[in-house]
């Protein structure tokens, strides 16, 4: 009702407000309507303007397209005018060629050219062009396309002939005529003309829209297209005024042109758009209906619709506003009621929330009926369901703890009597599970009867069992703390904010010799030998004014003073005591006697220093690293090592330390020992480390020992290299002691000898001795070595399989520091194969020489054999001839009387007469002698060959060099006898030379053949033979052998190379280049002799061999 009254009181104000609102709304709506109408008008105007601009833009674009098309056509025309076909025609004409003989071809060529141009712009009805023609200067048609029908002629329009023969584009009968002159500026020889209908141009430009009939093309302000007779000339002149404005224009309503346009184009109010065709005196006009553009009917229709729409909108708005005002009052009342209900619901919900959230059990006690109404929480509090409990006060009373009943009941009675506003009690109730729970009860009488007796009492029960339990535990803890303090073994005391002792335990009293009573209330500084300032500073926690605002201090070293005045060092821990509100109420201090501990620490410190000194003198770096491999400590030696390395290897110390740390960390814990290298810029050094973990160290720290092993490793590397070289070298290396016992042999040795290393070590070197060497050889060898000289030479040895091999051996004595020889190192190079090859090569060369000489030798043999054969034939014939005579004479031996027989005598005489007995008897002895000489000659040659080529005599033997020379002369006779005369001057007293005869034969042969060849290659000497002279002499214990010729000589540039193997100046296939090399090897290498060569080109050459006679 109160609310209704308030609503009624505000009604007049509301009505006034509503009226104002109506007024404002109407004004706003009318304004909106006016704005809409204005915008509509503006939009109409803009649309008309845009339409005009669009059409003008279209007309400009069309004019531009016309311009481009005409430009292209003009360009084509120009191209034709300057083309080779037109040029050829005029040139042929100028050359005097007639139509019958040649000129007609040029004209036809022109026509074809025009035809091709025609085809460039194909149209459904032919071409864009109407025609293309070439006129001469008199206007006579020369050529054209399409060709004129027979009998028809064409020429330039008469008016053009009159005006000018040069370029003039013109329009005629709806056709644009483009023309291009040919010739110089002053002399036009011809004109090319192309005719293009405007209609086709429009179609070509695809302007065939619905405006087709509304376009007009003006050429020089004359209508060129369409072909309609619109107006008299004066009307067009009127148009010309508008043309100069270059913008759309409309014609007057009474204009004659207007009426004609309206008639021809169906345009009522013509609006003319214009655009000039650039580059040509052409203007494009487009006629549009102004009625279509300015469509007034549509605008008015839209305006009316807008007004009606706006009016309707205003009326609807007013109706809605009126209804809204009436509803507003009802809504206000309704909303007030809803708000009250809502507030009540919220309050109830809040209460329920409080009761549920606080787990409050509620109860209502109807005192008169003893009825007790409880909620579910109350029942659950006691382990029941509400429905299980009797709704009677006995339900509560029976569960009440007997100890609590008296004061509970007293408090209730007091309240029911009206002496208290509420009653509050804590008491226990029996839980369904048999235990007691504490509840706090708050109750109040809600209604009383007229006599003041209580009718309804309501209250709540809150379970406080946990609270009660906590209080009991707190009390218990307090008691226990008291007992701890009293019985604490170390000193414990409590001071208040005034630094007075408030509590002190028995241990402190016993330590200091005071009783507890003597110390309680005493200043705490009384207990300490330290100054008062120190004590106050220490216990400043109690005053709460310590600057650091610490709540505790630990390990504070102070000194108690006993009742006897002695000092006791103690370590104290102090803690601030705070009340529940956080205020400082004192300090509790615990003290421990640390005098013995201090002594122990001092001893430990001394031991540590000792260990530190020991660690620092260890010759290696020590690092202590934790389980995470962080370096905890290092000794001084490690730092010294770092300095050494950084100095030697140009490394930054920090970087090096990091590298070492990284190496160790990367290897632990798998590799507790090892070696790693550190690469400096150009050097490498090696560090060996040993890491260990103390098994008793629970922290798992590592101790790492480091030392530089670079020198040691390098030495080992060098030793390894030496050992490898010795083992892998291809030459046998033997180390023997001074007693000739093997101490070391390498692999090459074992391969060479067939013995294993184990078989040889400790064995005497004589095990390998070869029988080829005499004792004296070994004796000389031993003498040399013992004298400390290096010995080199060839030695043969026996293998395990008793086969022999040859070596080039070098034996070097090894001395100790005292200079005594302790070992001999021998290097053996197996030359068995090399020697065999040399022998084979020598023999091959010898055989080669023999092969070369074979033909000559055969020829040498042939001559004596020839006459031996002749002589033998002579003997045969002679014998046959005298055979009858012999037979006749045999008859005498059997029958001597036959001599007397005249017949026999007659026959004898006849036989003798038939035989030239004198001749036979004279010639046979001569023939025999001659044959014998021949046979001797053959024998000598064969013998020489045999001696010369026999390979068996490889051993040295005393040799007659002269005889070797003679043999060589014989063997080579066929080589020189046709080119030279060979003379010898051999010293008969020449001593025998200890040599290999075969080799020396080879030497002589090579020298003689070379001389013969040199003579052949030398200059021709008019049928005179060259000379080869061989001489031997003895001079100063030396054999001198000279071979001289007068051949071509040796070129100076070849002199240095003639003894090189395979060097030859002979033609390919004629010399092996081995001859002089063999000579050199034999004389110089084998016999320690010398060879000299005196040569003069084209004059001759002389080889002088000097051989020690005792070599």
């Amino acid at each position: 009702m109160t609310n209704n009254t308030e609503s009624t009181a505000t009604t007049p104000d509301s009505n006034s407000t509503d009226r104002r609102s109506y007024l404002v709304a109407i004004i706003l709506l009318l304004s909106v309507m006016a704005v809409l109408l204005g915008m509509n008008y503006h939009a109409q105007k803009q649309a008309q303007l845009r339409t005009i601009q669009r059409i003008q833009s279209d007309v400009d674009a069309e004019a531009q397209r016309f311009s481009m098309l005409i430009n292209r056509l003009q360009s084509e025309l120009h191209q034709m005018a300057t083309g080779p076909e037109v040029s050829a025609y005029f040139r042929n004409k100028a050359l005097g060629m007639s139509m019958e003989y040649g000129l007609r071809a040029s004209i036809q060529n022109l026509s074809r050219t025009f035809e091709r141009k025609f085809q460039l712009f194909p149209f459904a009805d032919g071409s864009l062009y109407e025609h293309i023609r070439l006129f001469d200067c008199s206007g006579k048609l020369i050529a054209g396309w399409p060709e004129l029908p027979a009998g028809q002629t064409a020429g330039l329009p008469e008016h053009l002939r009159r005006i000018d023969k040069r370029i003039h584009n013109f329009s005629q009968n709806g056709v644009l005529h483009l023309q291009t002159p040919l010739g110089s500026c002053d002399n036009t020889e011809a004109i090319i003309q192309a005719a293009i209908p405007y209609d086709k141009m429009r179609r070509h430009l695809a302007l065939n829209d619905n405006h087709l009939n509304r376009r007009i093309l003006l050429h020089h302000h004359q209508i060129a297209d369409p072909q309609i007779d619109l107006v008299p000339l004066e009307s067009l002149e009127k148009i010309s005024r508008y043309l100069s404005k270059k913008e759309p224009f409309s014609l007057d309503a009474d204009d004659e042109l207007l009426s004609r346009l309206s008639e021809n184009m169906g345009v009522s109010r013509p609006l003319v758009f214009q655009s000039e065709i650039q580059g040509y005196p052409l203007t494009l006009l487009r006629i549009e209906s102004a009625t279509d553009i300015y469509d007034q009917t549509a605008s008015i229709t839209i305006l009316i619709v807008m007004i009606l729409f706006s009016g309707t909108l205003v009326l609807l708005s007013l109706r809605i506003l009126h209804s809204a005002t009436r509803n507003r009052v009802l809504n206000q009342t309704l909303s007030q009621v809803r708000e009250n209900e809502q507030a009540l619901r919220e309050r109830n919900r809040e209460m329920k929330l409080i009761i549920d959230g606080a787990q409050l059990g509620t109860w209502t006690w109807e005192v008169q009926t003893e009825k007790l109404i409880i909620n579910d929480t109350w029942a659950r509090m006691l382990g029941h369901q509400a429905t299980d409990l009797l709704p009677h006060v006995t339900t509560w009373r029976e569960r009440l703890h007997q100890d609590d009943a008296p004061h509970i009941m007293a408090a209730i009675e007091e309240h029911l009597a009206g002496n208290t506003m509420v009653y509050t009690t804590d008491h226990r109730l029996l839980h369904a599970e048999g235990h007691w729970i504490w509840v706090r009860a708050v109750g109040q009488v809600f209604s009383r009867d007229s006599q003041g007796k209580p009718l309804v009492v309501k209250g709540i029960h809150l379970e406080i069992t946990e609270l009660k339990t906590a209080l009991q535990q707190t009390e218990q803890a307090q008691k226990e703390a008291e007992a701890v303090i009293a019985n604490f073994l170390d000193s414990l005391l409590v001071v208040d904010r005034n630094l007075l002792i408030s509590r002190i335990n028995k241990a402190t009293c016993l330590l200091l010799g005071y009783s507890e009573d003597e110390l309680l209330g005493m200043p705490v500084s009384f207990l300490f030998a330290d100054s008062d300032e120190d004590v106050r500073a220490c216990f400043s926690l109690a005053a709460g004014n310590n600057q650091q605002n610490l709540s505790e201090l630990r390990n504070i070293e102070m000194t108690f003073r006993t009742i006897h005045g002695t000092s006791l060092p103690v370590s104290m821990n102090l803690a601030r005591l705070q009340s529940d509100r956080g205020e400082t109420i004192g300090v509790v201090a615990g003290a421990k006697d640390v005098s013995s501990l201090k002594n122990a620490l001092l001893e430990t410190e001394r031991q540590n220093q000792f260990i530190e000194r020991v660690l620092n003198v260890i010759p290696g770096g020590l690092l202590v690293m934790d389980a995470g491999y962080r370096i905890l400590r290092n000794n001084d030696t490690y730092l010294h090592l770092l300095e050494y390395w950084t100095g030697n290897y140009a490394l930054d110390q920090k970087t090096l330390a990091a590298m070492i740390h990284e190496q160790i960390r990367g290897r632990l814990p798998e590799q507790s020992d090892g070696t790693f290298s550190i690469n400096a810029e150009d050097k490498v050094f090696f560090i060996e480390y040993h890491a260990a973990r103390d098994g008793y160290d629970t922290a798992g720290n590592w101790v790492v020992y480091l030392h530089d092993v670079t020198s040691r490793l390098q030495a080992e590397e060098a030793r390894k290299l030496h050992s490898t070289v010795l083992e892998q070298t291809s030459e046998a290396v033997v180390v023997s002691d001074t007693n000739g016992v093997f101490r070391y042999v390498n692999r090459a040795f074992t391969r060479l000898c067939g013995y294993t290393s184990a078989e040889m070590i400790g064995q005497p070197i004589s095990l390998l001795k070869s029988p080829n060497h005499k004792k004296s050889f070994y004796a000389r060898l031993t003498r040399n070595l013992r004298a400390g000289r290096v010995w080199s030479g060839a030695i043969a040895y026996c293998r395990k399989d008793h086969s022999q091999f040859e070596t080039e051996t070098t034996i070097t004595p090894i001395r100790n520091d005292a200079g005594d020889i302790i070992y001999y190192v021998s290097l053996w190079r197996d030359v068995s194969q090399e020697r065999a090859l040399q022998r084979q090569l020598l023999q091959a060369q010898k055989l080669e020489a023999i092969g070369q000489l074979a033909a000559g030798v055969a020829h040498e043999l042939n001559t004596p054999i020839q006459y031996i054969q002749n002589n033998v034939s002579f003997f045969q014939d002679s014998f046959a001839e005298i055979q009858p005579l012999i037979n006749r004479m045999r008859q005498v031996t059997t029958n001597p009387d036959v001599i007397q027989d005249s017949a026999w005598q007659k026959d004898l005489t006849r036989d003798i007469g038939t035989i030239d007995l004198d001749f036979i008897t004279d010639e046979i002895p001569l023939s025999i002698e001659e044959s014998l000489q021949g046979i001797d000659h053959v024998v000598r040659i064969v013998s020489a060959m045999k001696e010369f080529s026999h390979p068996g005599q490889s051993d040295k033997s005393p040799t007659d060099v002269n005889r070797l020379i003679e043999n060589a002369v014989i063997v080579t006779r066929n080589e020189w006898k046709y080119v030279a005369e060979l003379t010898t001057d051999l010293d008969p007293a020449l001593p025998l030379l200890m040599c290999e005869p075969g080799s020396w034969s080879q030497v002589m042969l090579n020298l003689i053949v070379n001389s013969a060849h040199a003579i052949v290659a030398g200059p021709a000497k008019d049928d005179t033979l060259g000379t080869i002279h061989i001489a031997t002499r003895t001079q100063d214990q030396n054999l001198i052998l000279t071979v001289e010729d007068n051949g071509t000589g040796i070129a100076p540039e070849h002199l240095d190379r003639i003894f090189e193997p395979f060097f030859t100046t002979k033609d390919v296939g004629k010399g092996t280049g081995q001859g002089l090399a063999i000579v050199y090897d034999l004389v110089v290498n084998k016999h320690r002799g010398t060879i000299s060569c005196d040569s003069k080109p084209e004059m001759g050459c002389r080889f002088t061999l000097t051989i020690p006679a005792n070599s």
Binding site: M97, E100, Y101, G102, A105, Q108
Partner: protein
């Protein structure tokens, strides 16, 4: 084999071979061509008749004819000196305008179509088809030549006027062709004949290079030359009556000739031949409109 027998046997073999060859040459008429399936077209690269690039008026005509016969077309290139010999299979001997067949040679083709002008001596050894192309011999000179083209009056007067221009000039001609001055009445006029040994197409360039003062050209070639060297050459006038060209056949191929004539008439009446001529010799249509 005794030497005495070897020579007669060789001669006998040569005789048999000659007989076989000759019989083959003379016997290859339409029937054989149809049977063997190939029409061998003898041609010389000349003007636009045979361009040498696989086409030309004569080439297309022969290709059409081969299609008409239902046989394969094969072009056999020849030269002017031997083309008739290659057709008839025998050497041609000319003496006082009389042509006779000499030794037998291999036949290389069945038909000549290459702008071959009808000349009397040729008709003695080969047969021509109906005329396929009109021509005339014109006198040509370089544009810079002091000789001026004649002024046309009549053909007879024009030839006489042109002959007068020959006096003292070096005239380029070619043997065995219609451009041989010896074939015409002006042969005895006072000029120097230079016989060209290249191809017909190279005669005009030879004049431009100064190898001769003037040259003979037939009309088709002259018209091609006018387009090829516009303004560099000029036509002085005619030196012959109007002539005709035709397709040539062996005298032993009457069926082939007859079939071609039928084919040619049909082609001509259909207008196809005219278009073919327009393609290669457009100017000729205007010079000789009545021919086509």
């Amino acid at each position: 084999m005794p030497n005495l027998l070897r020579i007669p046997l060789t001669l006998l073999f040569a005789l048999l071979l000659s007989i076989v060859t000759t019989s083959f040459a003379t016997g290859r008429d339409l029937e054989t061509i149809t049977k063997e399936g190939t029409l061998r077209h003898l041609g010389v690269p000349y003007a636009n008749f045979v361009t040498g690039q696989g086409d030309g008026l004569s080439v297309e005509l022969m290709q059409m004819f081969a299609v008409h016969l239902g046989v394969r077309y094969e072009f056999v290139q020849a030269d002017w000196g031997t083309i008739i010999r290659d057709l008839v299979g025998a050497d041609i001997k000319l003496s006082d305008g009389q042509a006779t067949l000499g030794d037998a040679v291999a036949v290389r083709g069945d038909i000549i179509a290459t702008g071959l002008t009808v000349i009397p001596w040729r008709e003695q050894v080969i047969d021509y088809s109906d005329p396929t192309f009109p021509t005339q011999v014109w006198l040509m000179a370089e544009a810079r030549s002091p000789l001026s083209p004649i002024t046309p009056v009549s053909l007879e007067a024009d030839i006489l006027a042109t002959r007068q221009l020959l006096t003292g000039q070096r005239l380029l001609g070619m043997r065995n062709t219609c451009l041989d001055p010896a074939l015409y009445p002006f042969a005895g006029d006072p000029f120097e004949t230079i016989y060209f040994t290249g191809s017909l197409n190279e005669m005009m360039p030879a004049v431009l290079e100064g190898k001769a003062d003037i040259t003979l050209l037939d009309v088709p070639d002259a018209l091609v030359a006018l387009n090829t060297w516009p303004g560099q050459i000029k036509i002085l006038g005619p030196l012959s009556e109007e002539q005709q060209m035709g397709v040539a056949f062996r005298k032993s191929s009457p069926q082939l000739r007859r079939t071609f004539n039928d084919f040619y008439r049909e082609l001509k009446s259909s207008g196809i031949y005219r278009e073919l001529v327009r393609k290669y010799y457009p100017d000729v249509l205007y010079y000789y409109p009545e021919f086509f």
